[in-house]
Symmetry: C2
Amino acid sequence: MLKGPVSVLPVSDSLAAQPDSLQITALPGLPLIQPGDDLVPIILEGVSRAGLALQDGDALVITSKIVSKSEGRIVDLNTVEVSAAAQALAVETRKDPRIVELVLRESAMVSRQAPGVLVTQHRLGFVSANAGIDQSNLKGNDEWALLLPIDPDATARQIQAAVKDKTGTAVGIVISDSHGRPFRMGNVGVAIGVAGIPALLDLRGRDDLFGRPLHISMQGYADLVASAAHLLSGEANEGRPVVHLRGLNFPLVDGRASDLVRPVEQDLYR
Amino acid sequence: MLKGPVSVLPVSDSLAAQPDSLQITALPGLPLIQPGDDLVPIILEGVSRAGLALQDGDALVITSKIVSKSEGRIVDLNTVEVSAAAQALAVETRKDPRIVELVLRESAMVSRQAPGVLVTQHRLGFVSANAGIDQSNLKGNDEWALLLPIDPDATARQIQAAVKDKTGTAVGIVISDSHGRPFRMGNVGVAIGVAGIPALLDLRGRDDLFGRPLHISMQGYADLVASAAHLLSGEANEGRPVVHLRGLNFPLVDGRASDLVRPVEQDLYR
């Protein structure tokens, strides 16, 4: 993973980060994505189809699933050689040994395991279930799996640059995934790739209404954007894979999804 | 806490839960809330000030801070008697012993403690830092603390009923707070009170595009709504405490924030 320096927001700019209103639109009529597809023209056609013209400061949230498909991250499970470690873990977790093998290949370490549950630290840094491997919306059977994109931060930067090149507009790009959570039920949207938009908003030192420094200091900004888009794109819904947001009024900070990964030494739960 | 049955969404209705577009507006010009204030007329004035007229299916996200203030949940720290347990924990966590005392009074158990960190299971069920106790935007000094509302699910229901009574419209109400997370940096919006809108969306059994049941089954719906509103209301920002959402197209399920609390037996991290 390209791991840039943590890109957080200067205090002075953070005050710009609260819009009065926000318009969110799911891009209609996008085709099923095939390996090798160039997502940018497909997304720009969807923007036009929605009757929109991109403006500086717009944001596009793209589900990781179509990025993975365009990268050809589809694995035929019948070609997966299962290691002894994966076989043992598959028995413990009661999961398909081939999927467990792929999870281990995609992960730096196992965080928690239980019957039906396999939570790992992904090679991209974040902690999630099953390394984000997806079996839905593939080829209609259980014999295929979709891995997460190779380097979503880098892909987000490439898409951001290509959109700038084709349209002349500077838009924020978020590549989103759906994560479960400790303590809370239900999945939410998270950012696993970020470009041209803050990942973390640093409000440290910002005063409250009485001039007193805020205790709450950091906002998981790109995760909020991903979750807002999730209300339109839904779960694993390839029919609505790209969502457009206008009015965010975000400061021009080039964040990285890796900014949102809590360092192990700061994490009391890993 | 009033703990109703888990209210999740019938599969048939879940298909209605993805809008094409969404408009989100921060209500302008709300006054500072004082103990005893009736929030409903204040919110309805804000809706008019925004040039909006409420419609069935709109949602209002209200920060817990103004609910707490209206309930008079402000504590003068100089009146707090510190127990021996709180004193010891304050030394370990390097926090104000009076705040630690209030955290313990508001909590069912301590989840994690470290220098600068005190995470507990709140009496309302969720796990969060410092029991959601807030010292910002109070009276301009450190001598006051604001506790979370007494029963945010019940308050959300009361507000939902009063809005229905005054305007004839059925709107969803979410009372939101800002939570940090294991594994990930930055706070996000979460729902701690819910009425007239789903808390969890149950997508179990819903087919994907190829007719294959989705693996991802549950969406933390009210948390997504709270996080979307968070993009406008910001952190601890009493100037933007109420956000209006139009277009969510949520099914008429009367959720509870308690639906979003993961049962201990299902939680591998608590």
